[in-house]
């Protein structure tokens, strides 16, 4: 009896795992994946938090920078530049959910790079920004 019970528990556990949605990744996994895309481009210089911080605060010749909405302190609550709606902190130290869902990371890099730079960001740029955000302490 107990054997049947334990094997059905095992089956349930396995089924439960299989039924999970896409497994969340760690911030380090996402950083590593962006870094590996960046490495395949010519002239890869490694990821730089300093360069990422400059990129984050620059308006790139247009109206907005990343900081326009996320503020100069990515550990703080930001504010949408058009609607004023609060934006939860971007720095993983202040918001553990950030950079754990690859689809969400891609979605927002695509949208926000388009809004700030008028183009997609290169893996190098994305990686620099993430390296910068990972250095921010609360």
């Amino acid at each position: 009896m107990s054997r049947i019970l334990s094997s059905s528990c095992l089956a349930l556990a396995v089924f439960g795992l299989a039924a999970q949605p896409v497994l969340a990744e760690t911030q380090e996994q996402i950083r590593a994946s962006i870094e590996s895309s960046a490495r395949s481009a010519p002239g890869f210089q490694g990821l730089s938090a300093t360069r990422g911080g400059q990129f984050f605060k620059s308006t790139h010749g247009n109206d907005w920078s990343c900081a326009s909405c996320h503020t100069d302190n990515p550990a703080a609550v930001g504010k949408h530049a058009k609607t004023g709606k609060p934006i939860q902190p971007l720095a993983p130290s202040a918001n553990a959910e950030r950079f754990t869902d690859p689809a969400k990371v891609n979605k927002w890099f695509k949208r926000n790079c388009n809004d700030v730079l008028g183009r997609v960001c290169t893996p190098q740029e994305q990686g620099d920004v993430l390296a910068y955000l990972l250095t921010i302490r609360k």
Binding site: H80, K82, T83, G84, K85, A103, K107, K110, R111, N112, N114, D115
Partner: protein
């Protein structure tokens, strides 16, 4: 028919009649703009928001995606064709890129279209909720002083929640309006 029974039925009819009168009084108030200068002879020229504005069944994807940057506007605020156009142009959504994957976009569009305004009879389909005749009439200079629009808490007419405290749940009733001071 016994006397008692007849009395009851008279009373019942009177109650029904009173209910009817009360209901049409509410209706009349709601319809006071019937036939205002337009070619359609319908309320707000046929550019009227749906009722109820928030459907009983919400869509989780819509709620998540459409409330990232602003409140998730109730689908009944615009006609189906407006939602099709809004959803087809998300890469240039009022000055920002709000693009979705094709799969997300289809699910949300289908839900918006099937819950769009059921009282929008004009052949118009504005992209902005604030461009409809219903919105304009309800927010004109008689209803709201121009100074209210200039307050920093309001920022834009798209910011329903600045005054409509329950806007997020699709409740725009007058008792839940608090004008910022």
């Amino acid at each position: 028919m016994s006397n008692r029974y007849r009395n009851f039925s008279i009373l019942f009819s009177a109650v029904l009649l009173a209910m009817g009168v009360a209901a049409s009084a509410v209706q009349a108030d709601d319809d006071r703009d019937e036939g205002r200068g337009d070619g359609y002879g319908r309320k707000y020229g046929g550019e009227n928001r749906g009722k109820p504005v928030q459907p009983a069944r919400l869509n989780a994807k819509w709620q998540q995606e459409c409330s990232s940057c602003h409140i998730a506007y109730a689908p009944g605020l615009l006609p189906a064709e407006s939602w099709r156009k809004v959803m087809a142009g998300l890469d240039k959504h009022f000055g920002t890129d709000a693009s979705l994957t094709a799969q997300e976009s289809k699910e949300i569009t289908d839900w918006l279209v099937s819950n769009a305004s059921n009282r929008w009879s004009a052949p118009t389909s504005p992209l902005k909720i604030t461009d409809g005749a219903w919105f304009k009439r309800k927010h004109d200079g008689h209803e709201i002083s121009p100074s209210v629009w200039k307050k920093p808490q309001v920022k834009s007419p798209a910011n329903c929640g600045a005054c409509h405290t329950q806007a997020e749940s699709g409740d725009f009733s007058e008792r839940n309006i608090r004008m910022p001071r």
